[in-house]
Structure formats: C-alpha cells, structure tokens
Symmetry: C2
Subunit: 325 residues, 2 copies
C-alpha cells in the first residue's frame, strides 16, 4: 500500500527492498521462508529462487518437476544441460500462459532471462514475464543522464507512459531496461539508450560510465501488475552519463511519455511524493550517495541506505555477463 | 594466513569480509554463532556485538555482568543511562587491561568509541582497543586523494610505518582514521587529513566529497595484532578528493613512512600482491567500481564484490553521527 504521507529515503528502500533480512529479522525471515518452496535443478542443492505455494501447486505432478512438501522444494528434474532445461522450462511457462490463470504472464515478452547456478554456470533461460513466478534474480541496466554546472546537478527524468501495464505514469531513470540472456550490460545500455531516449550509440560508448550495481529483493505489490506477493530479487548495473547542454533525450518508443530536466530539489520532492517507480528511486538515491548529495550529516539513515542499496542474495548471480562459463 | 599466490579482487574481499553470511552459508553462519556469546544491555533484546567464549569467561561473575550459558548471552546489567553504562564498561575494560592477558589491550588508545542500540540510541562508549573484544561495530573515515588527467587516474598512496603495531609497512588509503564518539565524519576527516597527510583543513572542507560507505565483518588474524579470531564489524565513511598537481600529501606524524603517487596499474599490482592493509584494499576497490575502472565486463565477481563492500550488519548502527538522539 502507498503511504499518503511524505516518504523518507529509508521509506523508499522499504518500498522496494522489502523481503526480510535474516541478520536483522530472523523471525520474519524464517516465517517468510516457511511459506515458500525453493527452486532447484536435479542433483544440485543450490537454491535458485523462492516460489509461492500458489505457483508451486500448479507444477505438482507435471512430468519435469518434483514438488516436495517435506523439504519444501520445487525441483526441475529433467534436462541434462542448459539447452534441455530451457526447453522444459519453456514448455511449463507456455502451458501456464495458456491456462491463463497467472495474470503476470499477460505481460509476455518473448524475451529470455538467464538463471545462473554455482560459479556463474548458466543453468537455463526463462521467459522474462515468468521470472517473478519462480523468484529468480533478474538483471538490468539503469543510467542517470545529468548536467552539472558548478556544483549543481540537473537530471533528465522521463515519465512512463500512462498506458504502461507496470507503474504507468511514474517517473523513471533516464534509461533502464532488462538484460537478456547472453547480453553484455554495456551493449544492453547502448540498445536501451537508443530505444528509450534517442541517445546515440557513440555517445553512450564514449561517455557512459559504469559506476556500480544496485540490488534489492522486491515482494511485488499491485503497482507491478499481476499477482501480488511474487518474489523478485533484482540486480541493476548502474551507469552515469554527464550530458552537454545541447544533448536532449527524446522519447523514441511508446514506453516514455516525455523527458524533463529536473533540479536536485525537484527530484527529491518527487521522491518524497512517491512519484518514482520504486527501483528507480533507489538508483537515484545511489547517485545522490556517490555524488555527495546525500551525506552522513544530512541523512540519518545513511549507513542503512548504503547497505540496502547493495543487497547480497541467497541465490547465485551472474559472474561475467555475456560470457558462458 | 596470507596466500602466496596473487590475490584476485574477490580474494581481497575474503581477506577482510570473512564472517559467514546466513543467506549464502547458513550452516557456517549457525556454527559460528553457536560458539559465540551475544552482547546485550539489561532490559533490551538488541544484539550489540558477538563475544568469543575466551573473552566472555573473564566477565563471568563480575558484578555488572551476567553471562548466561542457556541463551549464550553476555548482558551488561548495571547502568541506567549512557553515562552510567560507560562507567561500568570502563571499569571492566580497565580491569582487563590490568590483568594483562588480552594482548589486544596493549594497544590502549584512551579514545572512546560509541555503541548504538535501536534507532541510533547511544547506549555506551568503550575504549577503542577493547571494541574487538566485544565485537561491536566501529566507525571510521577513509579518503582517496587522486589526480585525474584525461581518463587516467593516479593515487596518493601512503606506506604505513614499519614500527606500527598493526599492519606495519603495508599500503593504506591517503587518509584514514577512527571516528570517536560524538564526532561528525566530516570533522574527523579534516583532523586526520591534517595529522596524517598534512592536507589543509580548508582544502578538505571545500573539495573532499562524501561518496558512500564501505562495511565488512572482519575476523581478525595475526596481522591485526592481539588475539586472533576477535570479531570486528566495521563501517567506513568514504571520501574522494581530486587534488591539483601542486598539492602533495606529506607525512605529519609517525604513522606514515612516505607517500607515493601510483598509477592505477601500480595500485592494482600492489593489491594483487596483498600489499594493502585489507580494509584499505576494499576502499580502493570501491573507488574502482564507482569510477568505472572495474566494470561488469572486466571483473567476473563484480556483483558479489559490490554487495560485499556494503555489508548489512546484525547490529544496530549509528543514525546521525555526532548528534545525540
């Protein structure tokens, strides 16, 4: 539920990184896990994701899957390699789509996301829209384009199209998009910058700077579209781009309604009002931390915010994206 | 133990952030906690630190303390407020120093570190040298001073005096020091920059930029001095300072032997050889991440490194440092 009062920065974290932490809330964490099934593949005890019972029940008795109530596991039992596992997972997700009782699959993308096991091994790929049903980590790229004059920053902030299924009409990062299986983050950024903001490839390759990663564990609410309570751990590669005054981002597809050059104060006001898509708010906070806009002296929750912007997951993550190991 | 082979960047994390994580290693984490006592104050279930049995046993039967083997807790039972608790803790740590059987107290500093409870309440202060005996979070400031010409960085790197008790002769960050109770990070930075690197206060106040925080949970080895196995969760406020070519850091006390202006490649070679003090290596890696020197495409463990540079602790941390709540 959205709060009607103004959001503090730690509220913005709580809106997006809202799966419990064992270290600080062992009771809540254990209670959450008691309800869930762990996603695994055969002959491997690595936990790849968390699955709600309502999803797991649908797979009970399907030939390629074993649902065990004893150890609360959902195991993909078929498939000798990545290619075979991907085919079994595709058959399952297509069948789930056809039965039509998972609303989240209405947003089918025909785009495959990677699922990694130990040491960055690619275990299988899965349709993007289905990834929150299985609670696997998904990856993306987010870039903040800004102008800096003296010590004042201005940010190019897009408003999402009102018609978008997810977070329609909310504010976003200048460029953001998912990282498909086999894609290098730098290449995904070039593609998304062209598609979403009409920024030329040469400019991105020359001037965009990799500056870290923001990760959080989202329990989806109604704003995300589809079923609520689905588990979505996400890891976003973050980029900064300082733009000259004569370069102006423009919408290039129907995803973005408009861009506006906003002052730091305007961005902070919009954050407090909850106008940013929740994960994009975190990328803005990370920018503010890295550029000395949020400081130990002006932000009471500084340390907790910095840690929670960089959550470590229960699940293995990619090692070198774009490289098969 | 130091490895003789070259260290990867994830090895550098493993050298410093070496207490297990529940999420990825629940078995190891539980085994570690089974051995330890939790530090608490009376009428408060907040866990403030982890204490080795060899330390806790020394406090068994002391009037102000209750050591419980049932719930493995060490509780400070006396003291109604911060001032009184601090007095009881001081009496205990002074007695421990006089008995002389904790080597780590040979490095007595006469400097008080803060210990926070829920919502940033200051519960008590404790002698700096004693903080690893009680496993409480300690705070510091670290600054990297650099030159940037075109896209090339050079770093002002000090070598610690050979005579220093801890990590003698190792490479360090340009400026680094502990944050005493009641001190603002920006003020501590000004003081340490003058003391350690002869950098003027005006320059620091005008040009040093707060850029985040690096946190890790260190299990101390012999290089730290004193007993091994002591638990030291640390949270370091991180600053960057771009220096003009005519500003040269110089040693100003007996802590630093010399400064050298090193290229990125020279710093990376020294990191691989294990020449940096372990926590200072992490601050360098954080710089490399934020400035696009380490990227998703050149560092296989990029995501794990970024998360582990920003560990979230089991223990409450400071909210606004320098402000009593």
């Amino acid at each position: 539920m959205e709060k009607t009062s103004e959001k503090s920065n730690i509220d913005l974290l709580n809106d997006c990184d809202n799966f419990p932490y064992y270290e600080t809330d062992p009771g809540l964490y254990d209670a959450a896990l008691d309800r869930l099934y762990t996603l695994q593949v055969a002959d491997d005890d690595t936990i790849l994701g968390f699955v709600l019972p309502v999803v797991a029940e649908v797979l009970r008795g399907l030939p390629a899957w074993t649902l065990s109530d004893d150890d609360r596991s959902l195991v993909l039992t078929q498939g000798e390699d990545e290619r075979e596992r991907t085919a079994f997972v595709a058959a399952t997700t297509l069948a789930m789509r056809q039965t039509g009782h998972f609303q989240v699959l209405a947003g089918w993308r025909d785009e495959l996301y990677p699922v990694y096991g130990r040491d960055g091994a690619l275990l299988f790929k899965i349709e993007r829209a289905a990834s929150p049903l299985f609670g696997v980590v998904s990856y993306g790229v987010h870039m903040t384009a800004y102008q800096k004059v003296a010590d004042e920053y201005k940010f190019w902030i897009p408003r999402r199209a009102q018609t978008k299924q997810t977070y329609g009409g909310m504010l976003d990062n200048t460029v953001a998009g998912g990282l498909a299986a086999g894609e290098r983050p730098a290449d995904a950024l070039v593609r998304e910058a062209e598609e979403e903001a009409s920024l030329p490839a040469d400019l991105i390759r020359e001037k965009a700077r990799a500056v870290g990663n923001v990760s959080y564990f989202l329990v989806r609410d109604e704003r995300a579209g589809g079923e609520t309570g689905l588990l979505q751990p996400e890891s976003q590669y973050v980029y900064d781009l300082e733009l000259p005054e004569d370069v102006v981002p423009k919408p290039n597809d129907n995803e973005v309604e408009s861009f506006k050059l906003m002052t730091t104060e305007e961005v902070q006001t919009a954050l407090r009002k909850g106008e940013f898509k929740p994960n994009c708010a975190l990328v803005m906070l990370d920018f503010f931390v890295r550029h000395g806009i949020l400081t130990p002296e002006n932000e009471p929750d500084y340390l907790d915010i910095v840690s929670r912007l960089h959550r470590r997951f229960e699940f293995p993550t990619v090692r070198l994206p774009g490289v098969s190991l």
